[in-house]
Amino acid sequence: MFIINCPYCGERDQSEFSCGGEAHIERPKQPTELSDDQWAEYLFMRKNIKGIQFERWNHAHGCRKWFNVVRDTSNDKIHAIYKMGERPPLK
């Protein structure tokens, strides 16, 4: 169980958070103009990387804020944490 440094509350145990999967998958602004394949790409396709992954996390049992985490899924090392809307660190 790892520790996450919530950008609003500080370091907390992982059990206070929930993971929202891959980050930076923006909801299409004009879904009606997408083909089935394009919509499916947004809706279903996720990378599920072994290694450095950009993820969304929510401090569900805390401030309830969403933010982004750069995590190495192979060893849970967290490389960066930044708020929603902030520029991600260079990939």
Partner: protein, 1003 residues
């Protein structure tokens, strides 16, 4: 007690306090400080259990957590008996009762012992190969296998003991209280760090604390005396917390560790009362020092499993620590110097050491010289080719090893002995290091895997013999050097220690020792508990298994309760030798937590019974209890299910409630529905985006039903939302969906639409909801709120009014989930019970009837209203539910809209919601029952299933809702519901069964 097996002098055992205990019903005595194992040995009992597969007699083999054989059942109370306990870890207490396991009828005469003679027929994989065919016979085989195998008996009644969890945070956690752990703890504490030291024993000092030998000296004291002073001195550090009887179970990432502390297992029944039995520590440490030491290896030779054969270092501990002689005529078999320490200890206590059989050609270390001086016979370059004695070792056969170590030469010598100590070297306990993500490297010189410090998480370190430092001087020097770097220390109190010790000069390792017989005729055991031999490993390799993980599972080597602590290295060694591979390249099997078994009690702690999960009760709950309600769980909520009167069955109560609600008035506690307060200048736009229908034009004071989808177009939740003001709404959700809906809405607001000015607040608990329905509901509300104009013109269906009941503000909505004229009163929760009682009193003259969730479900089913989660299962679109009317086709976008015309969601043969009527109106279908068209066509094609089914007292017939493939087009079609004993004929109908014109809403 056989007095001659206990020697008199002792620092560790209090021989003034006698303790009585029972083993297999026999009353025996031991002393305070004994373990069950040491007390049994003192009573000359070696035979403790039978092995798993061949039921061979097995005895105590070790003195610690690695014990594979002496596994016992403790106690026979049905709520507290504990199986699979290692006798070597049980501290003796007055009244202890222990039993042998895996033997029937008794450990001395075990019918399963016949398996030993059948063993040529029971090779590795026997069960996999034999009991596969025919597949249908498995159930029969299983009965016999389960009956004859097994490791102890589970308790049959709930555990009555108390367990606890506790969190701890520290700068440094030190795991292991042996000499390297003590040195580390002292250095950390001296630096002022907040330090925790844990050890699984009831004393500190590891094996050094009883190592009284002038071959091992620190600052001119014997190592045990020096260490004793250091330990005594630890209590001077207020920043050092010492936890004995605490074993580390798991080492997770980010230095999160679980340790189990035994608080009362060593106490007698009276002393245990009202105390917490075990505590699970959840430790978050900035830095971790692993000082878990090492475990002595057995040697792998023919019949190396007889009772009376122990690890050499265990014999030493039994004599030096417990004052117990493991035998009167002891032989030792070794490939290293450790056995010589044992020989010296035994000699000092007056125990006869017959012979030391050493596979090495010679050695000139201090220890060996000392033993030679004593005059003990040493057979250099020899091996044991067989042992004799069934329930206790009687003699050994010894022969000289060939130069290459692969065979034996010369004459066989027979040596009598009643106990044999074996030492195959030492295995560092790297379990915790690898659990935490560290990688191992192989050290060829010592045939061991040790932590690779270059591939180790940075905030931990392994010190002492678990890091491969076996010689006392190396161990001390390296521990101090590494801890100084790890804890960033400058000068330390240990910088000028003077250490003298015996150094091992010669090494020889043979994983599988040869016998004079062919391997196939011998039994060299590797995994003593699971009865796997070197032969099994070789068979697995011949059959094509190559990966160590596969060999392990095929032969079950290392899969016992000891998890291969003794056997894994030999298995690897034999695989490496047989396949010509380097052990380092072969790697190890995965070390998984827990290091030693945990009780379920310690895992769950206090989270049992009513504390297992939160229970949510409405403000009106007590009234329901007082009025004989039966409850059902809806998520964490306790909801009134039905209110039986005069011994009514559930069916009778629900029929009565359902009838009364439509004939007069019904009252329901709807407080559990989720309520979300939505405010902000963009609140309308927000609702437009999250619901399928349009919201901007909803007038203030009006209510609207909304359907919420997932982005995949499937129905997610539903409920009525009311516009309280220009920028103010209150949304209701399903009871079970409330938390998830709030999370989903917050997610969209924060991540996709941060530009929207919207604020969400959950008010589920703050407001209670009382729903009054039925033709007389208006009369009742009129009595409670006389000032409110209830005319349809002023207060029509789907609207709301702010009002007051006795000066308390409330919101009254005219909405209906039953199809009846009805009102929902929302009021601050602390007034809810009073208002409920007021409603009951006001409704008395109109036969107001309280009803629960079951009647609510029945009434809404009569109207064809869905319950998300019952009639839907995350695979139905609004169109599948025949609710196309609720999709705002003109809206540019809403969550899930694009998915509603994917190629899959526009298929016409999707499962769709329909109504069902049974041919026999009294026949009530089972929810979940399948629907088929042609029962004779094989395989039978299943078209759908029943989602809701009731007997309607208002229609006087059975009604049901179902999802059926292409159901929309099948109205009037006859289908069959095949049940176990009969086929039920049904007809597909409209989903609305009652009051299709909705006349009753304004009745």
């Amino acid at each position: 007690m056989s007095k001659n097996l206990r020697i008199n002098k002792n620092n560790f055992i209090d021989q003034t306090i006698r303790i009585s205990f029972k083993f297999n019903g026999q009353k025996l005595f031991g002393f305070k400080g004994d373990t069950l194992a040491s007390a049994l040995l003192a009573n000359n009992i070696h035979l403790v259990g039978r092995s798993f597969k061949y039921h061979r007699p097995r005895g105590i083999m070790t003195c610690g957590s690695e014990e594979p054989n002496a596994i016992v059942q403790i106690g026979n109370d049905p709520s507290s008996t504990e199986p699979n306990v290692r006798a070597t870890e049980v501290e003796l207490y007055e009244g202890l009762e222990a039993f042998s396991q895996n033997c029937w009828p008794s450990v001395n005469f075990d019918i399963g012992g016949i398996n030993n003679f059948l063993s040529p027929l029971l090779p590795a994989g026997f069960y996999y190969k034999t009991f596969m065919w025919p597949a249908s016979f498995w159930e029969k085989y299983e009965f016999f296998i389960r009956h004859s195998a097994g490791l102890g008996k589970s308790p049959t009644k709930p555990d009555t003991d108390l367990y606890d969890h506790q969190y701890a945070h520290c700068d440094v956690l030190i795991i292991g209280g042996g000499i390297s752990g003590i040195l580390s703890a002292k250095l950390a504490a001296e630096k002022g760090l907040n330090t925790i030291l844990i050890d699984d024993k009831n004393y500190l000092g590891g094996s050094t604390i009883y190592q009284e030998d002038d071959c091992f000296k620190i600052n001119n004291d014997t190592s045990n005396k020096w260490l004793k002073k250091e330990i005594d001195n630890l209590k001077n550090y207020p920043n050092l917390l010492i936890k004995n009887r605490t074993s580390l179970a798991a080492f997770h990432g980010y230095n999160y560790l679980l340790a189990r502390e035994n608080l009362t297992d060593h106490l007698n029944a009276n002393e245990r009362k009202n105390k917490i039995r075990q505590r699970l520590w959840k430790i978050r440490a900035k830095k971790v020092v692993i000082a878990t030491g090492s475990i002595e290896r057995p040697l792998i030779f023919n019949n190396n499993d007889r009772p009376g054969i122990l690890l050499s270092s265990s014999i030493k501990k039994y004599i030096d620590f417990f004052g117990v002689k493991s035998g009167n005529e002891i032989s030792l078999f070794t490939n290293n110097d450790s056995a010589y320490e044992t020989a010296i200890s035994l000699n000092k206590s007056g125990v006869k050491v017959n012979t030391i059989i050493d596979i090495r050609e010679n050695s000139t270390s201090l220890l060996v010289k000392k033993v030679q001086k004593i005059g003990i016979n040493i057979l250099w370059g020899h091996t044991i080719v067989n042992t004799n004695g069934y329930k206790r070792i009687k003699s050994i056969n010894v022969q000289k090893l060939s130069a290459d170590g692969e065979s034996v030469v010369g004459k066989k010598i027979k040596i009598n002995c009643d106990c044999l100590g074996m030492s195959g070297g030492w295995t560092p306990m790297v379990h915790l290091f690898t659990q935490s993500g560290g990688k191992l490297k192989f050290k060829d010189k010592d045939y061991i895997f040790i932590p690779d410090m270059n591939k180790s998480p940075s905030s931990q370190i392994s010190v002492g013999s678990c890091n491969g430092n076996f010689e006392l001087d190396d161990l001390i020097t390296n521990t101090i050097k590494n801890i100084k770097i790890f804890l960033d220390l400058d000068k330390t109190i240990y910088d000028s220690l003077n250490v003298v010790c015996s150094k091992e000069t010669e090494k020889r390792n043979i994983w599988l020792l040869p016998s004079d017989k062919q391997l196939s005729k011998t039994k060299p055991f590797l995994d003593f508990q699971n009865d796997s031999t070197a032969k099994d490993i070789k068979l697995a390799l011949r059959e094509g298994f190559k990966s160590i993980e596969h060999v392990k599972r095929y032969t079950t080597t290392g899969m016992g309760t000891d998890q291969g602590k003794l056997s894994n290295m030999h298995a690897l060694g034999i695989i490496a030798d047989t396949t010509g591979t380097n052990m380092g390249d072969l790697g190890t099997t995965t070390f998984r937590p827990p290091f030693t078994p945990l009780t379920f009690g310690s895992i769950v702690g206090r989270n049992v019974g009513e504390f297992f999960d939160h229970t949510r009760k409405t403000a009106i709950h007590d009234w329901h209890v007082e009025n004989n309600a039966k409850f059902e769980n809806v998520g964490q909520w306790k909801r009134a299910w039905y209110f039986p009167e005069n011994n009514e069955t559930m069916f009778q109560a629900v029929q009565r409630e359902s009838k009364a609600a439509r004939d007069g008035a019904g009252i329901l506690d709807a407080s559990t529905l989720g309520k979300i307060d939505i405010q902000g200048t963009d609140a309308s736009e927000f609702l437009n985006r999250v619901y399928t229908n349009a919201w901007s034009k909803l007038a203030i004071g009006k209510c609207r039903y909304g359907l919420m989808l997932n982005e995949d177009g499937m129905v997610y939740d539903d409920g009525v939302t009311t516009r309280l003001g220009e920028n103010h709404y209150i949304m209701t959700t399903t009871t079970g969906g409330a938390a998830n809906v709030l999370s989903k809405l917050e997610d969209y607001l924060q991540t996709e639409w941060p530009e929207l000015d919207v604020y969400l607040t959950t008010v589920t608990d703050q407001y209670s909801t009382i729903s009054i329905c039925g033709p007389r509901s208006k009369n009742i509300v009129k009595k409670i709120i006389p000032d409110l104009d209830l005319s349809d013109a002023n207060f029509p269906h789907m609207s709301f009014k702010n009002s007051k009941i006795d000066n308390v503000n409330c919101r009254v909505m005219r909405i209906s989930f039953t199809g009846e004229h009805s009102y929902e009163i929302n009021i601050q929760s602390n007034y809810a019970k009073d208002v409920w009682i007021k409603c009951m009193e006001a409704g008395k003259e109109f036969n107001i009837t309280p009803y629960g969730t079951e009647t609510m479900h029945l009434l809404r089913a009569e109207k064809g209203f869905i319950i998300t989660g019952q009639d839907t299962d995350g695979t139905l679109t609004p169109s599948d539910l025949q609710m196309d009317w609720i999709i705002g086709k003109k809206k540019y976008d809403f969550i899930g809209k694009r998915s509603l015309y994917r190629s899959d969601t526009i298929r016409e043969d999707r499962k769709q919601l329909v109504g069902l009527l049974t041919e026999d109106p009294l026949e009530v279908l089972e929810e979940g029952a399948q629907l088929v068209e042609d029962i004779n066509k094989k395989p039978v094609e299943m078209l759908g299933h029943v989602t809701s089914s009731y007997f309607s007292p208002n229609l006087k017939k059975s009604i049901a809702l179902a999802v059926v493939r292409s159901g929309k087009k099948m109205k009037g079609k006859k289908l069959i519901v095949p049940m176990e004993n009969k086929n039920i004929n049904v007809t597909i109908t409209d989903t609305v069964f009652y009051d299709k014109e909705n006349k009753r809403l304004n009745a």
